[in-house]
Symmetry: C2
DNA sequence: TGGTTATTCAACCATATGGTTGACGATTAT
DNA sequence: ATAATCGTCAACCATATGGTTGAATAACCA
């Protein structure tokens, strides 16, 4: 499984891991806090976090005795770009997308 | 594995299956022709096609004795939209983005 | 020092996955 | 009618995956 797409898509294929990523969207979290809402052992969550880290979907940094987990969207963007190659659906042109975002920041949507 | 995202991402996690999808981007193909470039048995390819079908990434239609495989981008779009939520950018308003694209088509950027 | 907290490691288990081969049903061609 | 082609099925195999538990390591607290 050397291809980055292999590890990224495989990592995303598990609902627990997708839930973890969603949680990390809110904020960085310690391993124990990530594990809290799940009905499975800490060791199991630790494994999931290892898989997410190897897929480079998150990064982990140990500060003191707690290891902080942080979303790293780069790998996801790579996978996303691969999917966009299937231009059957509306091409999400990245250039256009960035222009769109710039515009959104200039002109807030509530007007 | 009931969640559609489970089956879609799991299906995309295999390089053979991604290669098949890429081939189908060109044109619809019969099972035998899909299998031709791969160094594995027809039965193995048949299984991969079953997985892609269950993930609704392709559809298969039997005409005569040949079964035609056709890309079905809907499921991929669902997964793509899920991933967009993890972009480094702010939460994406897809509707707004589509309106933006429509606008861009009306008023070409080179002016 | 000793105790608690945070996290991983190692061994283990059940099931899933990706591949093989050979037989089979259905369709088409000679 | 017979043979060839298309594709799946069933049984099997090796390895991967997702989970468990208990012990181990490391850092903090009293």
């Amino acid at each position: 499984m050397s291809n980055p797409l292999d590890t990224v898509f495989a990592a995303l294929g598990d609902p627990t891991r997708r839930a973890i990523l969603t949680m990390l969207l809110e904020d960085d979290m310690a391993v124990t806090d990530v594990a809290e809402p799940f009905e499975m052992s800490l060791a199991a969550i630790s494994k999931h976090l290892g898989i997410l880290t190897r897929a480079r979907l998150i990064t982990q940094e140990k500060r003191g005795r707690v290891k902080w987990c942080k979303l790293d969207p780069d790998a996801m963007r790579t996978a996303s770009v691969w999917m966009q190659g299937f231009g059957q659906f509306e091409p999400i042109n990245l250039d256009a997308f960035e222009r769109f975002l710039a515009l959104e920041l200039e002109i807030p949507p509530e007007r």
